[in-house]
Symmetry: C2
Subunit: 137 residues, 2 copies
Amino acid sequence: MKVEEAIQILKNDGHKYTNKRRDIISLFVDEDKYITAKYIQEALKDDYTGLSFDTIYRNLYLFKDLNIIESTEIDGEMKFRIACQSHHHHHFICESCGTTKVIDFCPMDSIKQQLPNVEIASHKLEVYGKCEQCKTV
Amino acid sequence: MKVEEAIQILKNDGHKYTNKRRDIISLFVDEDKYITAKYIQEALKDDYTGLSFDTIYRNLYLFKDLNIIESTEIDGEMKFRIACQSHHHHHFICESCGTTKVIDFCPMDSIKQQLPNVEIASHKLEVYGKCEQCKTV
DNA sequence: ATACATGCAAACAATTTGCATATTA
DNA sequence: TAATATGCAAATTGTTTGCATGTAT
């Protein structure tokens, strides 16, 4: 997703366009990987007056609601990335740097056949490891 | 896994066999589903003198190390279940009661082909929803 | 002008640690 | 008895909330 697009979504839903929101969204677009609230705080700490965690979290949940970002939970903390707008897919996630790679495959069709009597609400498929840059050569 | 087996693993690895450990392991075997530290505390609170969270956690991590239990992280908290000793598989997990169903399928073979240059360390595939008992009829 | 956004400080919940005591082998 | 297990109490970490103030519309 592009920054402009995210800002449109924000405005269309009646929210205000602030510098901090723009900065957070820009950061997501620039980084294009999973990052934590702490990462955002670090990255923007010198900018203007910095950002408090409460503001970060409030915005993260807002952006999540608006489908501007997506989230996952790894090692006890939430990580967020700019939303991928292509068709449904999954991610490889680098444990070192958070970089993602698209996994263009979803096994849910086969899996649903194995679960006839349950009501499926969601699923999580993630592959973890080291990306080219982070793996020891 | 059976209770006796878990106790053998514990003893063979030089740990002591205490009533609390037996109770926790029994609970895991009886419940046969994902439960939290809090659930364990509730379940065993009237037993003898109860259990403190520090003891619960210390034992959970010990059992995890010994592969007596397996864990997953859902909604910000760790959940644990008695280890499944069959071949590699995944789980459907009921969001209401923690009951699991085996998903006898793993898509990693196809996925690995899509990730040629990375070093894969692990993966997570879980399906969430409501089991027969918990889904609204 | 008014509603929404932010910061501060404090609350929270799950988990972890240090240390003294109790218990198993 | 010697080593490990446990409880207590307090620290830690990630996240959330109440309230007063600041800012975009």
